[in-house]
Symmetry: C2
Subunit: 332 residues, 2 copies
């Protein structure tokens, strides 16, 4: 295993130390671990907390900041964070207007966020939760009942973060998050796997000419293994199941997010984006916004995922609103 790390046990904490040293807009708490806006809690603002296993950076710590998350709870690599992390993060960001938990649909994450919400409620904090389950590839998976939560999470965090920043109340921010989830769909694929530091070997093995379509962000099995295909064919294999699951009428608008699984370079993402744009043009779908890059990767796994969000005017306006985080920044 070749990685730029010290001890495998120290990967998460040392990366957090690096984040804290790099970004003065953030504060890192180490026991229990969470990343929080340095100005938290923001009085009168709905707080937004997310979290999940590490190894998907910048998700979620890189999305903490003005206009997006108030706090993020990192678990060990590909491992759910614990309820005490979520509880302490929730307390830290409660500005009196309640706290929304945005939770990717993995069983450990869901159960632990539920427990944290109960404990926070017992402390008198108003907590709501939305579970993101946008991955159309498979129903149920290695760590998930129902569909997995993937790329739509990034979009929900941005859009809901903007709504909270604009002063909307907890019920409104929660409704918006549910709407993003209801209108978001994703599907991913992998070429080679990645290696979790503590495991020391690839999460799964693919043959020299194989790819896996419908892969999860922890290497969970997808729909099929098949010979490596062209970018045009891969784009089609990802976009068509998304459109089959949530059809678009002529003229409807989408935000298209082409994500690198980590080890796929930007030049290839633009080739995939080009193919996706051609397919969507054939379907009469207008790409109104886009996001291209490694925003929810799986360590150094090669491959990509595509997320489509059917946009309405409100979501578009909130997407465009000022954001200032380490990984997404505009208008600030």
């Amino acid at each position: 295993m070749k990685k730029l790390i010290n001890a495998t046990d120290d990967v998460v904490v040392e990366a957090l130390e690096g984040m804290e040293r790099a970004h003065t807009s953030l504060k890192v708490v180490y026991d229990p671990k969470y990343v929080v806006r340095a100005d938290a809690p923001v009085a009168g603002k709905v707080g937004i907390v997310s979290g999940g296993g590490s190894g998907h950076e910048p998700m979620h710590g890189g999305f903490v900041g003005m206009g997006m998350l108030d706090a993020a709870c990192p678990g060990e690599v590909f491992t759910s964070p614990t309820p005490d992390q979520m509880l302490e993060a929730t307390k830290a960001v409660d500005g009196g207007a309640g706290v929304l938990h945005i939770v990717k649909n993995y069983t450990g994450d869901v159960l632990n966020f539920e427990m944290a919400a109960e404990l926070a409620a017992a402390d008198g904090i108003d907590v709501e939760a939305v579970v993101i389950d946008d991955d159309v590839a498979v129903q149920d998976s290695s760590f998930t009942a129902g569909r997995r939560g993937v790329g739509a999470t990034v979009l929900a965090e941005k859009i809901c973060g903007a709504a909270a920043e604009a002063g909307r109340d907890l019920a409104a921010v929660k409704e918006l998050c549910e709407r993003v989830n209801a209108n978001g769909r994703s599907m991913g694929m992998a070429l080679p796997s990645c290696t979790v530091p503590a495991a020391g070997k690839p999460t799964f093995e693919l043959g020299d000419d194989e790819m896996e379509i419908g892969i999860g962000i922890h290497g969970e099995p997808g729909r099929e293994r098949r010979p490596v295909a062209s970018a045009a064919e891969v784009a089609k294999m990802l976009v068509e199941p998304i459109l089959a699951d949530l059809p678009y009428s002529e003229g409807e608008k989408a935000l298209v997010f082409v994500n690198s699984m980590g080890g796929t370079p930007l030049i290839e993402l633009y080739i995939i984006y080009n193919e996706v744009a051609k397919i969507l043009a054939e379907h009469g779908v207008e790409i109104a916004r886009n996001l291209i890059g490694p925003y929810i990767p799986s360590l150094e796994m090669q491959g990509c995922s595509i997320t489509m969000l059917k946009l309405d005017d409100e979501m578009t306006e909130l997407w465009d609103a000022t954001v200032s985080t380490p990984a997404l920044r505009w208008g600030a």
Copy 2:
């Protein structure tokens, strides 16, 4: 070879098509190939043009936009662009105040930019050039006489782009670019290599437990191959030659740029940044600004590079100025 491409011959042009579809602030010209601000030429503003082999995205096309480059000329993967690309890009961005070429020190790039400058001058355009040669690893290399140009190029493009946007004249922007180069130093390393699409096999081979210190961004040989070391040791092997080459006095300020060679994930970059920050604290160097991410990668190569720029107040202010490009954006 597993890549998300169609035909190897179409990689660059299809990625450009994807960029053009994704970013309405840019225009792509295909014959000869260059990426240009949609609003070019900006009357009265110094134009800034860079370029080089593809495979290092977002460099340079992702840095085209308000506050950074006016145009970028992409060659084939790891291959210099041609003089006609540079000439046409220069003409397209000439707003009457002259054009600066920012050139990474690779022999092909330097010769071709020189020829383009002569042709542009014959057309009555005032052209100046600065060659970036910040890589301390080796003197002379596979494609270079002198030192290679690497990470400081990103910083020069940002800082000079801000100066041009602020209305400085060609002589001032050139002087500033020379100053950034004189104060910038870099060194990189690789774990596994990358594979150029047209070659179809890794650029170089490293043993299962080997890394190469001082690698170039095209896989050019570095200083030494040695067993894989810890992040702390790697950081030291990269920072110490930089400091030996350009010593810092107690209290001097640096911009520290930790770059992924492509396949190294962000969690590892933060671990490296953490180690770099500790080393620099011991030397009394203040990290005033930082940049962390894959801004000058080498396709999917794993590894990292470190660039340090000794900052003065003017460079700091220009670094902070508004920029709006696909890859670097703030204040806009």
